[in-house]
């Protein structure tokens, strides 16, 4: 694989074919191709349309509660400075959390869902389908479907239905139909297959509300653009609160929508180090992880070329993560391109490390983070003590962790 040349800007992709270098594209069945072209045409119409933007901004403000706060995590910062002192380093950067957990529905997923539901409405679609892993996107989809009066079907792996039962109940309360998928390991990959099968069957009236910055073009672009509000706000907020850009920004990467949303507005700020955190599961030696960029290879799945966990025959592996939202054997194509171009570093965090970060954040900050976000915090915990006190780190706190308390209790051997 050739290394792409360093571009003048990292923010210009994808090209007209939906490619980020060799990644991305439109690898879908012919039945879906006209739909994807239609979606692209509508997306191109609305993306610079002031009326569309105004409607989205109004909803983001009054319905979702944006802008989300950029919070100086004083408790965690103090804790990590103590760790630094104990090690004789005397450092410890300031840690900020971008509080996407404070959004309506409890995660960043609402940003994308509001954008796409307005698009679906403009396209005259009558029915919404979505896939979900942790259930955060399912809840956000069911929420916007309820708000705009669409029937909604959410595909969710049977394993995830079991481990994310509070979110399943929320979706049902919101009027969505949750269809458990038993194929494979019953996780996000299988849910996405089933959603695509639904779409290929119900082409006339159905809008597929993809939850992450992956899938066939134009999804990776449009999901990124709807999520970029995270980074755009964070950049302005840190300039206002600290008078300068951060040294490092960190976000967890499953499909990668919260990460690309934070990263994209910073990509051309070359002084800012950008780190994406993959789910290291039980370690990268075996197959029980979801670190597609650390341990996978480029391949084609779910409409795009990207890094995938796969065997030598090109069969996709199931992977494992404690966090349902990171339990996906692929990643959005723009991340694959950012990895190969060297602009973003992608590193794994193990289940146990995420679990520790989850508990620490809860204790020292009074914030229960989603297990996905706990992966990003875990990496901050690793690197912050060795940084200087005048350095700044922003971690994307992509969602709240209430949905994960059963999983965590189970892991800690407690019954609730």
């Amino acid at each position: 694989m050739n290394k792409p040349a360093i571009p003048n800007s990292f923010r210009t992709g994808p090209d007209e074919q939906g490619m980020f270098g060799i990644f991305g594209g439109r690898f879908v069945a012919e039945t879906l191709m006209p739909l994807i072209l239609d979606l692209e045409r509508h997306w191109n119409e609305v993306k610079d349309d002031p009326d569309f933007k105004a409607e989205l901004t109004d909803l983001s403000t009054h319905y979702a509660g944006r802008p989300s706060k950029l919070y100086f995590a004083e408790g965690l910062t103090r804790h990590l400075r103590e760790v630094s002192s104990t090690k004789g380093l005397g450092g410890g950067a300031k840690v900020y959390f971008k509080r996407e957990d404070l959004n309506h529905t409890g995660s960043h997923k609402i940003n994308n869902c509001l954008g796409q539901i307005l698009l679906a409405k403009r396209m005259g679609k009558k029915r919404i389908i979505a896939e979900t892993g942790a259930g955060q996107h399912g809840v956000a989809s069911a929420t916007v479907a309820a708000r705009f009066g669409f029937p909604c079907v959410v595909y969710m792996g049977a394993t995830d239905v079991a481990r994310q039962s509070p979110n399943v109940f929320r979706m049902k309360l919101l009027g969505a139909e949750v269809r458990p998928v038993t194929a494979g390991h019953g996780t996000l990959k299988d849910a996405m297959n089933e959603a695509l099968r639904d779409w290929v069957t119900n082409v006339e009236d159905t809008y597929y509300l993809i939850g992450t910055a992956a899938g066939p073009h134009p999804y990776p672009e449009l999901v990124r653009d709807f999520q970029s509000v995270i980074g755009t706000e964070a950049r302005a907020q840190i300039l206002e609160q600290e008078g300068r850009l951060p040294d490092t920004i960190i976000a967890a990467v499953g499909g990668g929508s919260n990460a690309i949303g934070l990263f994209h507005p910073f990509l051309d700020d070359r002084s800012v180090k950008i780190i994406g955190i993959e789910a290291g599961g039980r370690g990268l030696d075996g197959i029980e992880h979801c670190a597609s960029m650390s341990a996978g290879a480029p391949g084609v799945l779910h409409g795009n070329r990207t890094y995938l966990l796969q065997n030598a025959d090109g069969q996709i592996m199931d992977g494992h993560s404690i966090s349902a939202g990171l339990d996906y054997p692929g990643v959005g194509p723009e991340h694959s391109w950012l990895r190969d171009s060297g602009r973003v570093d992608y590193v794994p965090i193990l289940d146990d490390e995420a679990l520790e970060a989850f508990q620490l954040t809860t204790r020292v900050e009074g914030i229960i983070p989603a297990l996905e976000s706990a992966h990003a915090i875990a990496h901050a915990i690793k690197i912050v003590p060795a940084m200087d006190k005048d350095q700044i780190v922003i971690v994307n706190l992509s969602g709240r962790g209430d949905k994960d308390v059963h999983t965590v209790a189970n892991m800690l051997g407690m019954e609730i």
Binding site: Q17, G25, R26, F27, V28, A29, E30, T31, L32, M33, P34, L35, A183, G184, K189, N193, L196, R197, V200, T201, N202, V203, A297, G299, V300, L301, H302, G303, R305, L308, Q310, A312, D313, G314, Q315, I316
Partner: protein, 279 residues
């Protein structure tokens, strides 16, 4: 350059009947059984063989073909073994066209150039790759055509007249008309609409048009075959294999015989097609 597919289609046209195109899953339930099924197909009246290449995530397939692919993968099937099976078949039959059907990733991982060399050497005549629309022609379609392998494209009810020329542009061998929107194995669409769609496609191309998705019985094959140049049967064949497997995958009867019985019946259907149409 003519291929086995071109020659077979020309011969059937001269006979005045449509082709029976049969899909089976290579490696289902195991290599040896699948090879015996493949060998039984032409004897039972199949004119063209579609060899399914199993894939872990077959997004356009229904439960029957998903399950068949998983059985094959569990039985140790790989792309390399699928090509080996084709060459074993080819050693005894140099006439029946073989079309590989599946998804792109295993081919991409094998390496496109290497795959095309190996496929040619194994006696493969055509490719149907579900997740490579014309927008991605540079990936495999163009290299395959240069190598002398037919690239057979799916046209669907969503492929309108404006898009058809793009879909047909680099198609060769035949056009595979998918009779409905949906996954494999669903119920057959309105046959009147199918006939109209075949006529519409024929207005854009001289290539033979074969129709699939939903054909399960000899009677359906006869009706579809009255307007189409070929009738594709897949899920029914895969089900014939599944029906003689016990709960633990053990064979309760000979899968090759079960498939042969089904295909013989279907073959009667396509052979009656034009007689019926002429009435």
């Amino acid at each position: 350059m003519t291929t086995r597919i071109d020659r077979r289609m020309a011969k059937l046209k001269a006979e005045g009947r449509p082709a029976l195109v049969t899909y089976f899953m290579s490696g289902d339930p195991d290599y040896g059984t699948a090879l015996s099924i493949m060998k039984a197909l032409p004897k039972a009246g199949a004119d063209i063989i579609e060899m399914g290449m199993p894939f872990s995530d077959p997004m356009a397939d229904g439960p029957a073909i998903q399950a068949a692919g998983l059985r094959a993968l569990k039985g140790g099937q790989t792309l390399v073994k699928t090509l080996k099976m084709a060459s074993e078949f080819r050693a005894a039959d140099n006439e029946t066209p073989i079309v590989l059907m599946g998804y792109y990733n295993p081919i991409y991982i094998h390496g496109v150039d290497r795959f095309l060399r190996d496929a040619l050497a194994s006696g493969i005549d055509g490719l149907i790759v579900v997740d490579l629309p014309p927008e991605m022609d540079e990936e495999l379609c163009i290299p395959a055509l240069k190598a002398g392998i037919n690239f057979i494209r799916l046209a669907t009810p969503t492929t309108d007249d404006k898009r058809l020329p793009k879909v047909l542009q680099n198609t060769s061998g035949f056009v595979y008309y998918v009779s409905m929107t949906g996954i494999t194995g669903s119920a057959l669409a309105d046959t009147g609409k199918v006939a109209a769609a075949v006529t519409r496609i024929k207005g854009h191309t001289d290539l033979p048009v074969c129709v699939g998705f939903g054909v399960k019985t000899a009677e359906q094959a006869r009706i579809i075959g009255a307007s189409a140049d070929g009738v594709v049967v897949g899920t029914a064949i895969v089900n014939a294999v599944a029906n003689v497997l016990g709960p633990k995958g053990e064979k309760t009867a000979d899968p090759a015989e079960a498939v042969a019985t089904l295909v013989s019946g279907l073959s009667q259907g396509v052979r009656a097609a034009r007689l019926a149409a002429a009435e």
